[in-house]
């Protein structure tokens, strides 16, 4: 059994809304092992970004952790003080790259300076400026930016979207993090550039043995990248499995329906859709969240919410259909 570096246990997160609290994440159990790429997929509003932010404790003030714990290398991150968390974990042990590289770089500083700053604050022993600059140039070279000495002195607006995302990757990997949270890092990029970035990411993971939580809504991207996949629906994880297994034999009705929506699964016939819409946060249905849209739903689904249960080795699903199978 590979060593688990992150363990999320029974996590529930709520947002304040008009005096009451809305449950955004519910009953989340998830583990990430060392060197593993875990893909987290789900439709918009399913809570996947909230989960990513919770791990880095970046939630807004209006949110609160209702219950549960996130253990990073055995330590509950909610027990740490903000100062300690900032110094030890955020940006050091757990790094994050966000969706829009445009917003992540400061437009009035040179790209090199921004990398330099990260190096300066993260190196434990104070090095000479000259050495740090050399290191920054090396990092730029490593992520595939041509002519790094020259590029070092350029501003973010002189970089293309793909190059900016490369810079973000470079910054994230400076501290050699154990876990990288990638929140849809390629949505704003072109197809060929997306493939380049994901190829780079795969190579960096192999080199640094970093684990990745890759958040995306594109099943194709996740399929080509991750070892395991977790599917989220309305604030809950409904299925976790090895990526090959998930695509070959999806268990949860939502995963099954989602895969059938993909146009590449079928040619020319009518595409399947999922009836209805993702339920509104303010009025989740009774019982299973997917119950109103599920074609298999029966009495029990309307009363209870199923937990994520093991249905096969390394395959978990939250559906009552499986429990009946066992009996």
């Amino acid at each position: 059994m590979p060593q688990e570096i992150l363990n999320i246990n029974n996590l529930a997160v709520e947002y304040k809304n008009k005096g009451s609290y809305l449950q955004v994440l519910e009953n989340i159990d998830l583990g990430i092992s060392k060197g593993e790429i875990l893909g987290l997929v789900g439709e918009s509003g399913s809570g996947k970004s909230t989960l990513g932010k919770t791990i880095l404790r970046l939630l807004p003030d209006s949110a609160r952790i209702k219950e549960g714990s996130i253990r990073f290398k055995g330590e509950n991150i909610f027990d740490l003080s903000e100062k300690k968390f900032n110094k030890k974990i955020r940006g050091q042990e757990i790094a994050m790259i966000i969706q829009n590289p445009q917003n992540a770089l400061n437009p009035v500083f040179k790209v090199g300076t921004q990398i330099f700053d990260v190096l300066y604050f993260q190196s434990s022993q104070k090095k000479k400026q000259k050495d740090l600059k050399k290191e920054a140039v090396n990092i730029l070279k490593k992520v595939g930016i041509s002519d790094p000495e020259y590029r070092f002195d350029e501003y973010p607006h002189q970089f293309s979207g793909g190059m900016k995302q490369r810079v973000m990757l470079a910054m994230a990997f400076i501290s050699n993090p154990s876990l990288l949270i990638a929140d849809e890092p390629t949505t704003a990029l072109d197809l060929t550039v997306e493939a380049q970035i994901l190829n780079l990411l795969s190579n960096l993971v192999e080199e640094y043995k970093t684990s990745i939580l890759y958040i995306s809504h594109d099943l194709g991207v996740v399929a080509g990248l991750s070892d395991r996949i977790a599917v989220m629906y309305a604030g809950q994880i409904v299925e976790v499995a090895n990526s090959q297994k998930l695509f070959d034999s999806p268990n949860h009705p939502y995963t099954e329906a989602l895969l059938k929506c993909l146009p590449d699964y079928q040619k020319k016939d009518k595409l399947q859709t999922i009836p209805g819409e993702v339920p509104d946060l303010e009025n989740y249905p009774e019982g299973c969240n997917f119950q109103s849209r599920c074609k298999y739903s029966f009495d029990r689904c309307q009363k209870e919410n199923p937990n994520l249960e093991k249905i096969a080795p390394e395959h978990f699903s939250a559906c009552f259909l499986n429990m009946d199978k066992e009996i």
Partner: protein, 324 residues
């Protein structure tokens, strides 16, 4: 029978004003957004234009609707050049050819309710004889795109992304057009909603005999909806063929690279062992000499650097621009 024919279309954007350029006296900058393309769309067909951002696909779409005037070349609609239309002909053309805009939310007026949004084209084109029938027509249009009557009273901010997209489609259909330009109609939508919109578009096409010019960078979607695919790179067509033929057997190295990320999700294929094209799309201000793809192409040889390949028929109705 062809409905739209594009003949040697060129659109160059010239930038020669600006104070600094005048001081530096550099001469005008010529951005060749679209540089000499030819294609035709048959009636009731769907022609898809794919390509990365900056390749000129949106400029083609805008030219086809005469939203920008081409620098050179002609666009024929039912055999008549749309650039020579007089005022009345143009007005008729405007009601026959409609566009579905990219961003579903920002293309709806936030101060209008759905009823006003959908009926606005009817007012502009004086298609309403009697105000009492108006609401019926709006309901009929909403019904066509799968929305119930109650949506006619909502404001755009009350709609979800998929619903806003449907309202946009209803508005485009209000004048009973024959030709629709769809500029990335499913971008930003979730998978399940995307498939519902694709179904709707296909259903509408069959029912009302619509012709689509479909612009997208989602190849799965293109494979599903189109009959014919045009691949553009830096303002030029690099490959054009029937959907099946181009997906089964892409001939141009760029198409090959673009489609290689489109393996089925059941394969063992991963990004790690994936061979990828180098570099990024060059700037159209200063395109490379010879074949514009040669700096990124793994097969490129001497000839590619000097001579620009012409779009030629390599197989039956499969055109490509490559020296190989």
């Amino acid at each position: 029978m062809e409905l739209v024919k594009v003949k040697n279309l060129k659109k160059h954007f010239v930038n020669n004003d600006g104070f600094l350029y005048k001081i530096a006296n550099k001469g005008p900058i010529n951005v060749k957004a679209v540089d000499g393309i030819n294609f035709e769309i048959n009636k009731q067909d769907t022609l898809a234009i794919v390509g990365e951002s900056g390749c000129g696909k949106t400029t083609v779409a805008r030219s086809v609707l005469r939203l920008v005037e081409p620098t050179q070349g002609k666009i024929l609609y039912k055999g008549k050049s749309i650039n020579d239309f007089n005022k009345n002909e143009l007005k008729e053309f405007r009601s026959n050819a409609q566009m579905i805009l990219q961003d579903p939310k920002s293309s709806l007026n936030p101060r209008f309710i759905v009823e006003e949004i959908v009926s606005e084209p009817l007012y502009i084109h004086h298609k309403i004889e009697d105000d009492s029938n108006l609401l019926d027509r709006v309901w009929e249009l909403l019904d066509m795109v799968g929305l119930s009557k109650r949506y006619s009273e909502l404001f755009p901010h009350e709609l979800s992304g998929g619903q806003a997209r449907r309202v946009g489609i209803a508005r485009s259909l209000a004048l009973r057009p024959e030709f629709l330009v769809c500029d990335e109609p499913t971008s930003g939508l979730d998978i399940s909603i995307m498939s519902a919109i694709l179904n709707l578009m296909k259903e509408l096409q069959e029912k009302y005999r619509l012709t689509y010019l479909w612009i997208s960078h989602n190849l799965h979607e293109v494979k599903y909806i189109s009959n014919k695919v045009v691949v553009m790179y830096l303002g030029k067509i690099v490959e054009m063929a029937d959907t099946e033929s181009i997906f089964d057997n892409p001939l141009h190295p760029y198409t090959e690279a673009l489609f290689s990320s489109l393996r089925g999700i059941n394969d063992d294929w991963t990004y790690k062992n994936h061979e990828i094209v180098k570099g990024e799309v060059p700037s159209p201000i200063d395109p490379p000499s010879g074949c514009s793809f040669h700096p990124r192409c793994k097969y490129s040889f001497e000839k590619c650097k000097k001579i620009e390949p012409k779009l030629e028929n390599k197989k039956e109705d499969h055109l490509t621009a490559c020296h190989l």
